[in-house]
């Protein structure tokens, strides 16, 4: 399988590998998998609640080179985007940026799914915690 230079670059120097605290109410976590190959991908975003802008993004992928490159690229794209802009990222954008061959399209789908899952997790958390600032101000028993 011939990988494009961009895939190799992301594979060899993946950007933003790591994790953010799952407990942080401003962090959304997406964990997805591709049953065809059994690869798994975790992608997290940290959103600035005042501006709705993604300040930080991290990923960890156990999978093929294209999946690693797709998620690495995704985290690069996510930083500085608003939550809504992030939802507009399509797997086809990743495919064309990385010149992925047809058999590797599902790897980019995995990245898109991970973004969607992370953001929906963030939104769920926000809805559940209400206003985090007030909560933090409450005295601990």
């Amino acid at each position: 399988m011939a990988y494009s230079n961009k895939v190799i670059d992301h594979y060899e120097n993946p950007r933003n590998v790591g994790s953010l605290s799952k407990e942080d109410p401003n962090v959304g976590t997406g964990l997805v998998g591709a049953p065809e190959c059994g690869d798994v991908m975790k992608l997290q975003v940290k959103v600035n609640p005042a501006t709705g802008v993604i300040d930080d993004a991290k990923f960890k992928t156990f999978g093929c080179g294209s999946a690693i490159a797709s998620s690495s690229l995704a985290t690069e794209w996510l930083k500085g985007k608003t939550v809504d802009e992030a939802l507009a990222i399509k797997n086809t954008d990743i495919v064309s940026e990385l010149s992925l061959p047809p058999v590797k399209i599902h790897c980019s789908v995995l990245a898109e799914d991970a973004i969607k899952a992370a953001i929906s997790d963030y939104k769920k958390k926000q809805a559940a915690t209400g206003k985090p600032a007030e909560k933090a101000a409450q005295p601990t028993a």
Partner: protein
């Protein structure tokens, strides 16, 4: 029914040869399926010995050598039937490929990766992810020269839950297959599909552990 092109007699769609003149019939893929081709019901429990016998009989009957001097259409039919037979055998022989094939025949295959990843229980993904992280750590331990017993015992410990899961899986596959064969209920197919989707994660992980252990 189809009409034999050689003698005009009627033959059923799943017949390999004309019942009248014994001419080999052309293969129409969308009118058959692997089970039918082998003369088997659409059931999941298949006796391996019986399947192999059927394979031998049919491959003898279709063998291109017999059609060396036959008309072009017959030669083609013999080649097509031979290659279809091989595909069918390969699929039906493997219990998992058989389930996947049945699911696609019944229109129950997962619709693309997006739908598929949602059907896998999140808890399994979590577990797979955590175990992958563990594997990563073991690799680092090895790379930094930790003693073999140390990382080996860690790997052995890591594989226990996943080994257990695989066994449980096999058992569920068998039970569900039996239920399908007896009752043909379609909700059994959905359960089967979920098991099949989960399988690659488990196998992938186990393969990773095996790879580390065998090095």
């Amino acid at each position: 029914m189809q009409a034999c092109r050689a003698c005009g007699a009627g033959a059923s769609l799943d017949a390999h040869f004309c019942p009248q003149c014994r001419t080999i019939l052309p293969l129409v893929r969308r009118q058959t399926d692997y089970f039918t081709f082998f003369g088997l019901p659409r059931k999941l429990r298949i006796d391996a010995v019986d399947l192999e016998q059927r394979l031998r009989t049919l491959s003898r009957q279709f063998h291109p050598d017999y059609f060396y001097n036959a008309a072009t259409a017959e030669r083609r039919a013999s080649l097509e039937r031979s290659s279809y037979l091989n595909d069918a055998y390969r699929t039906l022989k493997s219990p998992v490929a058989r389930v996947e094939y049945l699911l696609s025949l019944e229109g129950r295959a997962a619709n693309g990766p997006e739908e598929a990843s949602k059907q896998v229980p999140p808890a399994l993904l979590e577990e797979v992810f955590a175990l992958n992280e563990e594997l990563d750590e073991v690799r680092e331990m090895r790379a930094s020269g930790a003693p073999a017993e140390e990382w080996r015992s860690r790997l052995e410990r890591a594989r226990q839950p996943i080994d257990a899961k695989r066994e449980e899986h096999e058992q569920q596959l068998q039970e569900l297959s039996a239920r399908w064969d007896e009752r043909g209920e379609s909700d059994v197919l959905d359960a089967l599909r979920d098991r099949v989707l989960e399988r690659n994660y488990i196998n992938n992980l186990l393969a990773g552990i095996e790879r580390e252990l065998s090095q």
